[in-house]
Symmetry: D2
Subunit: 354 residues, 4 copies
């Protein structure tokens, strides 16, 4: 089932869950839009309405009603203000919640997961105090940063990271940014965004040992700004390497990064939403670009799940590059769907559920 189906991330969830091989077609919930069909309120203008859900009506349901319907897995695109209590109540009632909301991301009991990086944090589910569980995906800007960093950590042992973002309109949801605020403009402020990037990066790149999350000690210094592109967050990254490396080694680290491949995992099959290559290195002089690279990722179900990096420059201990990821897919709905797929495969959910 899908909480908050009428928002921008909610609609990306609907797109990904329509006809998903593991999860049932979701019940759609929403607050202000209850009674409308998904087709009526569809806002992802350049994406088709998911055929299996076009006529589905948005319902307004309490946690109790949801549990009563036997829902076992819920995807949450709730606004942060509502998510905290609602998701916890669902977890208490036995539902496995996979959430895009920031409310629980920094909870000491809740894993913040990007499967290619810290899939093992999912083990924290078993120590959660609820009958169900809560697993979160990262902030939209964090995803593109940490996926580009993760393959480099063992190679470069970075001491410090500086990042400036060029974030797309859809990161603010719909209606989001007024056109008069952004036309012919850039907005150098996104509330709470820099803080999220700084603390989430440390948690995701850190370990989970002895039942506790151990954040990586890696200071991240961020500037977050909004530009006029529709989707795809671009980020300019400079890291200070503790160990020097050549550009060719860095590129190889990115291109070899395939921790979820069946071979790497000793698994029979690929997770449906996992991209074959989570990090794609672009050799062109002027890439990655939002309009060209936001939908990177193969196979088809993993479109928008790959991060594109480019413009690598290595200069003494400074390593500079740009990274780009689809804020609403890898940095949103797709992140949680992949989390749920991995949790299911790890046997942490106990079966196929809606």
């Amino acid at each position: 089932m899908l909480l908050g189906a009428s928002g921008w991330i909610g609609q990306h969830f609907a797109r990904l869950l329509d006809d998903h091989p593991y999860f049932d077609s979701p019940i759609l919930t929403g607050a202000t839009s209850a009674g409308k069909s998904l087709g009526e309120l569809w806002q992802l203008a350049d994406q088709p309405v998911p055929q299996g859900l076009a006529e589905s009506k948005i319902e307004r349901l309490t946690p109790a009603e949801i549990a009563r319907r036997g829902v076992e897995v819920a995807f949450s695109a709730l606004p942060s203000g509502e998510a905290g209590a609602f998701e916890a109540e669902l977890a208490r009632r036995g539902v496995a919640v996979f959430s895009n909301a920031s409310a629980h991301r920094m909870d000491p009991q809740v894993p913040l997961v990007i499967p290619e990086i810290n899939g093992d944090h999912l083990d924290a589910i078993e120590r959660q105090p609820w009958e169900g569980s809560i697993v979160t995906n990262s902030n939209c800007s964090t995803a593109g940063l940490v996926l580009a960093l993760a393959p480099l950590v063992p190679l470069l042992r970075p001491k410090e990271v500086f990042v400036a973002t060029y974030q797309a309109l859809s990161g603010a949801g719909y209606p989001g940014v007024p056109s008069l605020s952004i036309e012919d403009n850039v907005l150098p402020f996104i509330a709470e965004e820099e803080e999220k990037m700084e603390r989430e990066t440390a948690k995701i790149l850190g370990g989970f040992r002895g039942g506790r999350f151990r954040p990586l000690s890696l200071p991240v210094s961020a500037h977050c700004a909004r530009v006029g592109s529709r989707e795809g967050h671009l980020e300019a990254v400079t890291l200070k390497a503790g160990t020097p490396a050549k550009a060719s080694e860095i590129v190889r680290a990115w291109e070899d990064f395939q921790p979820l491949s069946p071979r790497a995992r000793g698994d029979r099959e690929t997770l449906p939403t996992a991209p074959d290559h989570p990090v794609v290195y672009r050799r062109e002089v002027d890439r990655p670009q939002p309009i060209r690279d936001r939908w990177a990722g193969t196979p088809a179900r993993a479109r928008g799940m790959a991060v594109s990096v480019g413009r690598l420059r290595v200069d003494r201990e400074h390593v500079r590059f740009f990274t780009l990821s689809h804020n609403a897919v890898r940095g949103g709905a797709g992140g949680s769907v992949l989390n749920a797929e991995l949790a299911l495969r790890k046997g942490l959910l106990g079966g196929r559920r809606r």
Copy 2:
């Protein structure tokens, strides 16, 4: 006189020189546009055609012809490829050239000047091997960075600077960036721009002693990207302070920065194009913004000459802020006009000339 009057920076020069109190109304030159009037080829869509020059025809002139007309001061908006030889030939023939072109910026004999910061570099004119002279203004992205940094150097003794730019369309001139390249997009590459920011910053913030420029030893690590705003380059800056300071001290350093004020210079009157406050600190949470702040600067003749800074965050040794300046005014035509005004006032030009 004005070299390259038909380009974007050339037209900003025309705007500023029309009715200038020190310099005669300029002869306009250009290559491909010769024979047309300035009014016909006006591209600064949101600025009125300068009334005194609307009917002036663009002429195609060689350095010899220019010198023969008795021109003493020339402003150059030539493309870099042409500027090198053309400007040197003019200088040889006795003309004082104030140039926006990058060709001579790093010459060991040519000052790269922002009057509020290194006006004393103009003294290098006297050692130049030509009867005339060449003085350059900085790259458009450099201007906003160094004006924000200069007041902080004595206070913070920065050890390193990280900057990421959000550069406006007009930085690429006209026709410049194709609309299909930038609509719904960001371009993470501008040829040579990062290198210019890195080396020009060191030269401008450095000294001029014993007849030589002594660049400041301050590593600048830049990312340059193009966004869809029309004018006004925004930049996200992080600096590593050698000496810690409080946010309030930093703000005071910016607000007290008035090295060209008549009082500070022991002068009778203000330079016409000098802004009262070269660095304006914005207290709002979401400033500076291109559309709101690009024309900062008082009095009227100094519109677009002030740099706006904001979003100051001080965190251990990291100092972060955004800076914004008008790329075509402070970072272009206005920079050279102010250079010429100061050179004239310093007696380096020998009288009022066109």
Copy 3:
């Protein structure tokens, strides 16, 4: 005084009334923004905050409170839903209301005025049933159309008008159009807009005789669409002429149109906000354009009050051209300010008031 000062049109009113030669600096009212200063909530990003009003606080006042303060003239930028009752109550209490709201435009007792066209409709004030009065300005799209048509009516005796609009973002106010709705898009629907253009044109171009408005019998068939420009409504107009005329005669009719000039009115002085030439004919092949022509109008106080027309094509009985006007100035706040100036000059207000 100014009703609804915190909206887009309200802020244009504030800009025009700050330091107005006839009217006092306005008291500012608003509903949701009460307590804030105009400077804090300023949204006209490319216009400076009016200095005399920057610190003025928005107040929340009832009609009774407004009347009690001795207000004689009120400018209204109220939302249409609120304007109907509020403005009528003010008129009942003796206030002369000049309104941009659509609520009363089609009232049989309320004039809908563009001074250059139907200034005589102001005489209807004297028959209004209130101690005060209500005068309205036209819809933003209507203004550009009727000002281009009015000089042609006696010449061409048009039988029918076809118009398609390219309306700017600010026509929807702030926050108005979500950026995700318009970026890389055009919206072919603006609620009620086509109907307003059709009926308002007939009322404005009609007469006022025997105490009644006599709409011109001129069918207008409109298509209204929103595009991504910030300000300035462009319109493509085709009219079917009853009497043929040459292009040169049409241009002359536009250029000679100066009904408010002191000479034409037998007056001593110009109305402050009246443009010298209400209709400017552009000879360039690709004009008028929003970014180049929206601020047309001289002298300085009349910026944005002139309509620009161009691309005239005359083909048998079809006359085609484009017209452009500033939706928030001539088609908004400036329209009502000019109405008030004319009413005052005609002695319909009885003195200078705030």
Copy 4:
């Protein structure tokens, strides 16, 4: 084979011809880009590079060289200036040319074809003086207009058509419109565009009898303007009906319009690029929109081949609606591909060729 593969329309041709069921993978030609691969110069930023052609090199070939290679079918995306002579020479040498260029569209021997409307005009091929042939598709703006009009002609017997366009950036090709010309702007002029719409509509809707094209006598009065959307031309249409009809009848005429369906044509199978429903009526109040509707058309190979109409308003003899079509697909490359498919099926080409 594909002439002019490096331009915007050329690349859409490449997209459609890669893996086409009837035509061989094309040889790619171009002038300035010879030697580069299609992948290197790919500009359709939001479309993937066609996999089968990514490595294909652009060649520079004369008509003689092309003929010598045994090419039987050529698709032309040549610039109009070059197309006239080049295409005629190819036709002389036996090649069947399907062209998007305007050069031959109004030739008395050359059909201008939209298969759903005037597929019978293809019979003109047999009377052409060349061993090969030339068939043209319409101008990008004409396509959306005539496909919306064609189903209404028998019903309404229109006497006159008024149209105003909102044309996308890609209609001007790449690099095309400079970003500084269109950002925050609308351009009310596109050279020759209005004339093309007016004369092409008459030819397409007309007959072919006795070896001559008989244009429909239907005056079209057009305004053409460029807006900032990337792809998809929107048009506001008003027609004057000779016979009145109800809105429901008009909608039915559009929805029943399926002249290429196998049943209608007495054919076994559908043409690959023909959309199931060439005209899609949108019932939403604010459609069609470029971003939502430009890719209309099923099955997958016919994406961008359907025209979307909406906002139907019927008022006395005036019928008003908006129409939208993909300028580079239905109004460009896709138009010629469908023409070639129909010509092949009609036996006018004599076999499958590249």
